[in-house]
């Protein structure tokens, strides 16, 4: 090994089928030294880790899990481009590390056979030998080593066994010459590839042989359309002719690839795997029998989903995480209030910055809880079964079973729900799921429902005493959840018929063996997602929060306030400051006046003016400028409406949805200059329907931008959801007022 070579880190591409322990191996190799990002222009996550062995630095590039290196979408193209060094901004790959599942070698070798054709040094890591043994399979490793043309290293990724041998093999392979691997294809096919390569070379120089082969094999038309070799019509005709010749020779494209590669895998495995004569019934088999059973399977599924949903809903509260965060933020506010003199800076720090940070961290308990569950379900093998059980239902709206858990999670919070869509490999399905996820009624809508239902829906009960059920209020709450769900189903159907129209994607899904989830894997996944959210969405949420603060604070023109009121406030304030124990009546009067001033300032702020400006627009919904104003202020986070209504109605900040004061004030509020109440049942319903359907959540839009790699989709979501919310609120109010009258 030369000194110059040793000083440069070795770039290793980690590749493998899903469910082979690839992520576990990646973590075992790089520990916490990881960086996560996105490849530009696609939705693929970029994970880079670092490892070290005998002073040699390794850069490990974790490529998305895949069964095949046959790109049919820009996302799938990323792995091929990285491997072939076709992404200028990425390090060229020195050696490929392909991890395979020992209990499932035949199918795993399909991918290995493709990797070998890339012409890069390659090392195969053999994982899950223990699972193979539990299945009763006996592996002759020496024989496999002889029959496989590249080095093979047995590892136990979850226990960190075999890593040193693996790193040694990687370093050796990278230094040595590339083993010349014979193509698994028949002679006639290889000749066609050679001829095609010569023709391609005349159009675009230096196209790797693997891509030429793919061009011949790719009947989906993606590679031809992607412009890898330009859009030459003559070349397309050549390819079609070549396929016709191959079909006539009994080597039909695309079937020939699978036949050739599985044929190769069969040869490599000849005499390697001996199966028991009697197929052994494993624990996994018995578990699967129950979990996919018509009755028991459905029952367990319902229980698991109920558990997951209630956990995401309640754990953040019950565990005290929310309480802790609230207290931390409150202490921070108090500290700022003590250190920074009253004025614009203090208000910016407390209302803009601390509440903005609060708006980010408030999601962490939910994200941690959801991803704890998802990681457990994924690692133990149940995730695929959940998709299997729900597929039929989801296929009715054009999606697949894989969309079920992201959508269910969105009922707790759309942010982790959207992050969970990464399991959906079909891009159209994933996009539709992301676009409709915010319509599921998340937990942040609940305070709005609670406040308005408590104040305006009659508490008619059935039963009495402790089991008195306010049935009408429950029906209305249920209706709000249904509005979002029904709108989501409708929107998914429309998106599938319009923007994301196309052939039904295949639902071809591996059902992995069950195993005990690894705690390290689960915790790692949980924190990774939480951190990803903070750095991906955090800054934007903070920025939006500061902007809305500015709108509500400025121009802060004190001349709009009655001077007598200001004088009285100053006099009272002096009295309170002077006395060690000021009388309660004085304090109460001061608070009332402060709240009135805050309310008037808000009315005259940019936000208040905006509220007045849009009044004609929201009037048909039955709203006055105050509600319009509160709706605008709740763009960063919908639950803010409760506090905003508190300020507008001169109750001061810190009102929550259970506050009897706020409920009473809303009930008594009247249109300016009349004694006609602002709120009645139709207005309350119209506000609730609006909040059920509107995209008032900067975090959701920010995470959507991150997951889709473009502002187009959050913009579309905002526009379609706001329009939908407006129309639905309009219909609700107009129908309601005709049926129920103003009372």
């Amino acid at each position: 090994m030369s000194v110059a070579a040793a000083s440069r880190p070795l770039t290793v591409a980690l590749l493998g089928n899903p469910n082979t322990g690839k992520s576990t191996l990646f973590s075992a190799l790089s520990g916490l030294r990881q960086r996560i990002g996105n490849y530009p222009g696609v939705t693929v996550e970029k994970k880079i880790g670092r490892a070290e062995f005998h002073g040699r630095e390794f850069t490990v590039v974790d490529l998305p899990g895949t069964y095949s290196l046959a790109p049919r979408s820009p996302d799938e193209m990323v792995a091929v481009d990285v491997l072939l060094g076709r992404r200028a901004e990425e390090q060229p790959i020195d050696v490929v590390l392909c991890i395979v599942d020992a209990s499932n070698l035949e199918r795993n070798l399909y991918l290995v056979s493709q990797v070998l054709e890339l012409g890069l040094p390659t090392v195969v890591a053999l994982n899950m030998v223990d699972v193979a043994e539990a299945k009763g399979l006996a592996l002759d490793l020496d024989r496999l080593r002889r029959q496989l043309p590249v080095p093979l290293v047995p590892v136990q990724a979850n226990r960190g066994i075999g890593l040193d041998e693996l790193k040694q093999a990687l370093a050796t392979a990278a230094e040595g010459a590339v083993t010349k691997v014979e193509s698994p294809f028949p002679e006639a096919f290889r000749r066609e590839v050679e001829e095609l390569a010569q023709r391609v070379a005349k159009i675009v120089p230096a196209v790797p042989r693997y891509l030429v082969e793919r061009l011949l094999l790719d009947t989906s038309g993606y590679l031809a359309a992607a412009g890898v070799v330009g859009g030459s019509e003559a070349l397309q005709a050549d390819i079609r002719e070549a396929r016709t010749r191959l079909a006539a020779a009994g080597l039909p494209v695309p079937g020939i690839e699978a036949v050739a590669r599985y044929g190769w895998a069969g040869k490599v495995l000849a005499g390697v795997v001996s199966r028991p004569v009697e197929r052994r019934i494993t624990a996994s088999d018995r578990i699967d029998k129950v979990l996919t059973h018509r009755v028991w399977g459905s029952l367990v599924f319902l229980l698991v989903m109920l558990l997951l949903f209630s956990a995401v809903y309640y754990v953040p509260d019950v565990s005290g995480a929310n309480w802790l965060l609230d207290n931390l933020l409150e202490s921070a506010s108090k500290l700022v209030a003590r250190l920074v003199p009253e004025g614009a800076l203090q208000s910016l720090l407390i209302t803009g910055v601390i509440n903005g940070v609060g708006g980010v961290v408030v999601f962490l308990p939910q994200i941690f809880t959801l991803f704890f569950f998802i990681a457990v379900l994924e690692d133990c093998g149940y995730m695929a079964r959940a998709a299997y059980l729900m597929d039929k239902l989801m296929s009715r709206i054009g999606l697949s079973g894989k969309s079920f858990i992201p959508l269910l999670s969105s009922f707790a919070c759309a942010v982790p729900g959207i992050m969970a869509t990464r399991v959906i490999e079909n891009r159209r399905d994933r996009m539709v799921t992301i676009l409709v996820a915010p319509l599921m009624s998340c937990s942040a809508r609940l305070p709005v429902y609670t406040l308005l239902i408590g104040a305006f829906v009659p508490a008619w009960t059935i039963g009495r005493g402790w089991y008195a059920l306010p049935w009408l209020q429950i029906v209305v709450l249920f209706a709000m959840y249904s509005v979002g769900t029904i709108a989501g189903i409708g929107a998914a159907w429309v998106f599938k018929k319009t923007l994301f129209r196309g052939p039904t994607p295949p639902f071809v899904m591996e059902l992995p063996s069950y195993k005990l989830p690894g705690l390290a894997v689960v915790l790692h996944r949980m924190f990774e997602q939480g951190w990803a959210f903070v750095y991906r969405a955090g800054t934007l949420i903070l920025a939006v929060s500061v902007v809305v603060w500015g709108l509500a604070y400025y121009p802060r023109d004190l001349s709009v306030i009655d001077s007598a009121l200001l004088a009285r406030r100053d006099a009272l304030a002096e009295q309170v400051a002077a006395s060690p124990a000021p009388p309660e009546s004085v304090q109460a009067e001061l608070a009332t006046i402060e709240n009135e001033i805050a309310g008037t300032l808000l009315e005259n702020s940019f936000l208040g003016r905006l509220g007045h400006l849009i009044e004609p627009v929201v009037r048909p919904l039955g709203w006055d400028w105050r509600i319009g104003c509160a709706a605008i202020a709740s763009f960063p986070a919908r639950e803010v409406i409760v506090a905003t209504l508190g300020v507008i109605y001169n109750l001061g900040e810190g009102q929550d949805e259970q506050s009897p004061e706020l409920r009473e004030t809303l009930q008594k509020a009247t249109w300016k200059g009349t004694d006609r109440p602002v709120f009645n049942l139709p207005v309350a319903l119209s506000v609730m329907v609006f909040f059920a359907l509107c995209a008032q959540c900067a975090s959701t839009l920010a995470i959507m931008r991150r997951e889709t790699g473009s502002w187009r989709w959050p913009a579309l979501t905002f526009v379609y959801m706001t329009s939908l919310a407006y129309v639905a609120a309009l219909v609700t109010y107009q129908v309601g007022i005709r049926l129920m009258g103003g009372g």
Partner: protein, 75 residues
Amino acid sequence: MSTLATLPVGARGRVVRLDGDDEITIRLLEMGLTPGVELTVLGLAPLGDPLELELRGYRLSIRKSEAARIEVESL
């Protein structure tokens, strides 16, 4: 000749033919459903679709509409 969609739960079969050149066919081929491969139908999801197969030593789930493209002979 019957298709994989008509094979009853518990039956064993051998793939005879899989035609077509669209994404679904390519995916099925990649997952190992090539002519000559033997498989077992292990079960059906509670709502009647998709089905669970065992082939090449692992378990795979595909929809009936996909299974209907695969010609099989019973074993």
